[in-house]
Symmetry: C2
Subunit: 205 residues, 2 copies
Amino acid sequence: MADGVRVAPADKRRAILDAAIRVFARQGYHSTRVADIADEAGVAYGLVYHYFRSKEAVMTELFTERWSLLLDASDALYERDLRPREKLAGIARFIIDSYRHDPELMKVIIVEVTRAANSFGATHLPEIRRAYDVVSRIVADGQRDGVFRAEVDPDFVGMWFYGAIEQLLSGWVFGLIPATDEEFERAGAMVVETLCCGLERHDRA
Amino acid sequence: MADGVRVAPADKRRAILDAAIRVFARQGYHSTRVADIADEAGVAYGLVYHYFRSKEAVMTELFTERWSLLLDASDALYERDLRPREKLAGIARFIIDSYRHDPELMKVIIVEVTRAANSFGATHLPEIRRAYDVVSRIVADGQRDGVFRAEVDPDFVGMWFYGAIEQLLSGWVFGLIPATDEEFERAGAMVVETLCCGLERHDRA
DNA sequence: TGCGGTAGATTGACTGGTCAATCAACCACC
DNA sequence: GGTGGTTGATTGACCAGTCAATCTACCGCA
């Protein structure tokens, strides 16, 4: 070989995963053929099946890899000595930063897993719910400490929080709202600010 | 025929649509075969293609039929002389009532269209955005009149509002949160209440 | 140093099954 | 006998997953 460099096995595996991210992001899971992934990765068709049991297994690996980061970050944030609002802001920021850092992967995860209740969403429900659950606990703590109003169901807020943030990411993904660096900076704070304080003005007249 | 009753043509068409709702709700769009729809409707396979150009056309008809009701209701609500909060509550209530009235159809619309950004969601983006847009306008009006805080981007709230409500419906659809009659009654009001007033307590000490 | 041997990586042609859509025939009523 | 509704077998395309063959790096041994 000209350069004498041989790609280590692990790198081919990684190359397949990275190629899958790009192709899934571009065409969606259902419209991508396993051949597309192999082509994009520059490997033979069969090699995908050498490293992964199935096309589905590729997707699952991509999801689990990233989602466990979110879960770990959420847990860490929950344990820290912060006000509820700051914890929520931390989670929002982590998700948005994930998107800034790797928009294609986040697009795939949100579009194909988190919001795909019929396919991967069903398979990974437990992990997805674990993320909601951290938010619920933060809210419940806030209620216990008298910072948050007691009438709102914490589980309900957990889902709401993720529903809102995912919708926001969807907006970026599909160009419905501007995706500038400035927007990213503001968006996370704005979600939490609005969630905590509401839309209405509360003037002390 | 024993009962001498002949089903009118239009009824067969309707029977196919109704059957499609049930099958799509049960198995999801991608896992339902056209044969499943025909079987469920009690008609021959080919008749589906007599009334509809394709499997996709069946789904499109289901979506458009219902979504236009939502659009009309939203527009009507927008025109009425109500406070912004009441208009938002009206929309939330309409969506939730739609779900109570026909949970299977709403499940299909949300799971397969509204949140399926890669398939039908892309096709029907304009109509979907029209719904978000009404909310945005309500918020913008509220800001103009000084009822709502000015810092929040109305477009952003439009997406948020739907993201939250759809997540809530998803929760009911998949049994993540209790779907009792009482819950339905409270849920719509709670979304709007929380959105407008925020989670935090605003005591006038 | 050179040489069989082996395990794991890599290749891509092929198979088996699935399913949307077509179509030619059939039926019932006017 | 004609029109519009109705039937279901057939077709043709598509594609996930299999598999037998090939390649390459490296090891033990003389």
